[in-house]
Subunit: 140 residues, 2 copies
DNA sequence: CCTTGACCTTACTGTAACTGGAAGCCTTAT
DNA sequence: ATAAGGCTTCCAGTTACAGTAAGGTCAAGG
């Protein structure tokens, strides 16, 4: 399998697959002409990584997961611990974004959105004290 | 005001303030000795940017907001539109993360987390068909 | 006067995870 | 023979900075 076929088989782009080789994540064999050659085992690894990336795991964590994947003596506790850490980070990010969402939608709701310059959003950013600046404090 | 004081006054680091000057966002005056000098107007701008960044606006959008901030003839509709676009992006990101959260916490719940290698998380990543791989499909 | 320490300056590198593009070789079909 | 498409490497760009090095400046103290 050449890189183009490997790309189709894994849902990754050839660019990405080359990048993964560059960082020693999945290193292909080479044909006589210099072309990369991918076996089924390579494809499995790449697919594994693609799925892990889709779940938001960083490349470094993918590397760790991949080595656990290939370790028949792994403890599922280790995998679970990695996943839990990732989950906590995702949850923290969600909370952070929800706070932004609350503040922003509140400001947007109070902006006339017409041709005049007066704008609570701007007032908030410039932090002139205003009714909305005060409201914003309540959001915390 | 030197850059250190400006940093304290705005909550930004000197590095960040220099970076903002490098990208022509807020350009300071210079003293005879080459030191940057910040007026109250500079501080206001920097504070404005700091708040906008805290709300998650990109530097490019901050630039646009800043120019609206300084335009006495601005229409609040324009500000509102920018903010709404940003809010939509935040909301999309929240949904995306919540999907990850759902999938991950589901997988984690079904992982024994003991010393044995069997692990639904790994099964999901390697996409061998399993009860949990099937469960995962239901999550969509 | 000299030193010390706290500032300030520029410039370069590194970060995450790729994507895009240039220049050129290989293969296959017409 | 040539054109199309795929492959190769290498370099640059993305975001928004932070770290570090090498060196100039300033105020205070001995």
């Amino acid at each position: 399998m050449n890189i183009g076929d490997a790309a189709k088989a894994t849902g990754l782009s050839p660019k990405t697959i080359r990048y993964y080789e560059g960082i020693q994540l999945v290193v292909a064999d080479r044909a006589q002409n210099g072309y990369r050659h991918y076996s089924e085992a390579h494809i499995h690894k790449l697919r594994f990584i693609q799925r892990a990336r889709r779940l938001g795991f960083s490349i470094d964590v993918c590397r760790a997961l991949l080595s656990l994947y290939e370790d028949p003596n792994r403890a599922s506790a280790e995998v679970k611990s990695i996943a839990r850490k990732h989950l906590r980070e995702i949850e923290a990010k969600i909370v952070e974004l929800q706070n932004l969402q609350g503040t922003l939608s509140h400001l947007i709701d109070h902006c006339a959105g017409d041709g005049r310059p007066d704008c609570p959003i701007m007032d908030n950013l410039s932090a002139e004290s205003s009714a909305l600046a005060r409201d914003d404090r309540k959001l915390h």
